[in-house]
């Protein structure tokens, strides 16, 4: 029996058609795209074609707005640091409490350099209060950076609306759209979004390729200076094979997005319903009404996520957990904390993130495997007593270190 992969928000399988498209760029088409000779030209044209395709996927007005980077993290860092360097008088940043560490760790570091970072809070479903956001939009703010969709819960933020609100106050707007690109229709041409980050390996392209979209006219300071690649906005020889792969992945995403989303969302809902029906004391985190079509983050109360993952792995099922123990930190997922999920549930969250390669049969296997796994761990838990949780669990067993 094949193993089941449901961790596509971590990374995706490279589409075989993408691999096929890339292969010649490791062999006969090895030229440097910046070279003037025919070896370089062929690769240069392929890069240009990929840039056009990514432009179309993002609904950008110009292909020159597409800057190839090494990954989403590089794109995020470039966007924020560029905004700060281009506007040295503005010392404030607005972001959210639930961003990816690519943003949060950068912001934390910037705080030590004298910048003020405003972290927007989220409610129990992971949603932002736009009134609170509006109050922070002042002339001191250099950039707003808000993710398009949350990687753990799949909750989608109203970034287009937020970008308009920022624009009205003359503030740059960046979105980390790593989880959204390829899953949601995007039209940057008609939006007020100045910068957007995407990562190839989240949409069936390889790892090591990302994009920073930079709206024409936006003040910019490069992160990497050197050669003239990417119009001097990102020095370094282009990762041509990966760029070509991303171009192909972007094309496939456009062709299949609508059908795939219906299919993948159908699988996700079947999985979610099956699990919730058969496992007591489990619930979906995030905003079920406004979520990525492929993501279901389910909290299993009174047990811990890493233990669930280890047992799932034994059954050949791969997913992710926001539990502290999977990351090596001692804190539960910052997203769960921000949403106010109690510790007894926050540690037991499992993220199932599906793709077009999953099948109904796989979903049914997972639905069958999960209840005994949860039951086994609950049998070991001091919060579980036979058929249900102990009365007032956190009061009944609120341990302290000896």
């Amino acid at each position: 029996m094949n193993d089941i992969y449901m961790d596509n928000n971590a990374t995706t399988m490279v589409d075989p058609a993408v691999v096929e498209e890339m292969l010649p760029f490791f062999t006969e088409q090895f030229g440097n795209p910046s070279s003037l000779h025919s070896f370089g030209n062929k690769v240069g044209f392929a890069v240009k074609k990929a840039r056009k395709t990514v432009q179309t996927l993002l609904g950008a007005e110009h292909d020159s707005e597409i800057i190839f980077t090494s990954c989403g993290t590089e794109s995020d860092s470039t966007a924020i640091l560029s905004a700060l360097r281009a506007q040295p008088d503005r010392k404030e940043i607005i972001t959210t409490e639930v961003e990816h560490p690519a943003i949060l760790n950068l912001c934390e570091n910037l705080e030590t350099q004298g910048y003020t970072v405003h972290y927007l809070k989220v409610d129990g479903k992971g949603r932002i209060d736009l009134n609170a956001y509006q109050k922070l939009l002042t002339e001191n703010v250099a950039i707003v950076s808000v993710m398009w969709a949350n990687n753990e819960t799949g909750t989608i933020f109203p970034v287009e609306k937020m970008a308009e609100m920022a624009q009205e106050e003359g503030i740059m707007f960046h979105t980390d759209a790593v989880q959204a690109v390829g899953k949601l229709p995007i039209n940057l041409k008609d939006s007020a979004i100045h910068m957007l980050s995407l990562s190839g390996h989240k949409l069936h392209a390889p790892k090591g390729i990302g994009v920073l979209y930079l709206k024409r006219g936006t003040r910019f300071r490069p992160l990497l200076r050197g050669g003239h690649q990417e119009r001097g906005r990102r020095a370094g020889t282009e990762n041509a094979a990966a760029i070509v792969g991303l171009g192909k992945a972007a094309q496939l995403a456009m062709e299949n997005m609508a059908n795939e989303n219906t299919y993948v969302a159908g699988l996700r809902d079947r999985l979610q319903e099956g699990i919730l029906k058969s496992v007591p004391n489990s619930f979906v985190t995030g905003d079920p009404e406004n979520r990525l079509p492929n993501t279901a983050n389910i909290a299993f109360e009174y047990i811990e996520g890493e233990a669930i993952l280890l047992l799932m792995n034994k059954h050949g099922i791969a997913a992710s957990s926001g539990s502290a123990c999977t990351s090596g930190s001692l804190e539960p997922s910052h997203v769960m904390k921000a949403m106010g999920i109690p510790y007894t549930a926050a540690h037991g969250t499992v993220r199932f993130s599906l793709s077009r390669y999953n099948t109904e049969a796989e979903v049914d296997r997972v639905i069958e495997a999960i209840p005994p796994i949860v039951a086994k761990l609950r049998k070991l838990s001091p919060y579980w007593d036979g058929e249900g949780p102990v009365a007032e669990p956190e009061q009944a067993f609120a341990p302290v270190y000896a």
Partner: protein, 319 residues
């Protein structure tokens, strides 16, 4: 995914003594909900002999927390409570053939549950002196609270000093930035400015308190030292001096769950074996350096201390 030993997996996938013990007369509840691990250890102790007749666990936690709990119950069944209390968290980790550094807190939780349960059995109230915070040094499992408290209590001002006092930062050095940040905050709080060293010095920092002038060596001690160095020791006498010096070092190493054993003496070459936590420790070089210094002082001559295994020794001296 973590690199768990087969023993950890065995105790996780098939835990021993799961559940509460019937007729338990001792309970130890420990853990931290924020950290995602909590353990209830129940014991049935014979009140006449103080022998642990049965032990059971209930754990809310990760794979290694469950495995550590299971291992602990196996280790203590049949032991006198006094002997059970001698079990260290390192013993639990050793029983499981090791735990990843980030998971050592699971073994600590096991030991603390045992202490709590024995205290409960004896009717003693244990003080909650546990502090916890974000893990700073993953190599040695040192958390932020410990680093911060140590910096504060000792007025530390460099990463090297923090490493000397806490071990944090003594391994892969990826946490040096975090340590610098803590130093910066703590030094600012005491009105000083943190100035990072451009390059980490290899020299060991020796702190001399300003008010304490270095005292001249007592005449008698110096004469004794001279006598040792002047007199020619026989091989047996040398070995005895070395053994005595190692015995003096031993308690320090044992505090860190390590130890040292003398394997052979071949002229100026002294071969030792590092045991327990000292073996494979990333500060082993510093430990060996300290041992060498101690032996040179004791013998009054230059010697070279080399840590080896029995197999390596055979190759080196043909023993």
């Amino acid at each position: 995914m973590w690199d768990y030993s087969e023993k950890v997996k065995e105790h996780f996938f098939d835990p021993k003594n799961a559940g509460a013990v019937a007729e338990a007369n001792a309970t130890g509840d420990v853990g931290s909900l924020s950290c995602g691990d909590a353990l209830r250890l129940t014991l049935k102790v014979d009140p006449d002999t103080d022998i642990i007749q049965d032990a059971g666990f209930q754990t809310f936690g990760c794979g290694s927390a469950i495995a550590s709990s299971s291992a602990l119950t196996e280790m203590i069944k049949g032991l006198h409570v006094d002997d059970a209390l001698k079990i260290s968290n390192q013993d639990i980790a050793d029983y499981l053939d090791g735990l990843p550094p980030e998971k050592m807190h699971c073994s600590v939780m096991g030991r603390e549950a045992l202490q709590a349960a024995v205290a409960d059995y004896r009717g003693i109230e244990l003080e909650d002196d546990h502090e916890e915070g974000a893990l700073v040094c993953k190599c040695f499992a040192i958390d932020e609270v410990m680093v911060r408290d140590t910096v504060r209590a000792n007025n530390l001002s460099s990463v090297e000093e923090v490493t000397n006092y806490t071990k944090a930062g003594g391994g892969c050095s990826s946490c040096h930035e975090a340590i610098e940040n803590i130093l910066s905050e703590e030094m600012t709080a005491r009105g000083e400015t943190f100035v990072p060293a451009p390059v980490v010095s290899k020299k060991k920092i020796v702190k001399i308190k300003k008010e304490e002038e270095p005292k001249p060596e007592p005449v008698v001690a110096a004469e004794e030292k001279k006598a040792v160095s002047a007199r020619k020791l026989t091989s047996v006498q040398r070995i005895k001096v070395i053994e005595k010096a190692l015995d003096e070092i031993r308690p320090t190493l044992q505090r860190d769950h390590g130890d040292v054993e003398l394997l052979d003496v071949d002229g100026k070459n002294i071969y030792i074996k590092l045991i327990g936590a000292c073996s494979g420790c990333q500060l082993a070089t510093a430990t060996v350096g300290g041992i060498q210094q101690k032996l040179m002082e004791a013998l009054g001559e230059f010697v070279k201390v080399t840590p080896v295994t029995e197999e390596q020794l055979t190759t080196l001296v043909g023993a």
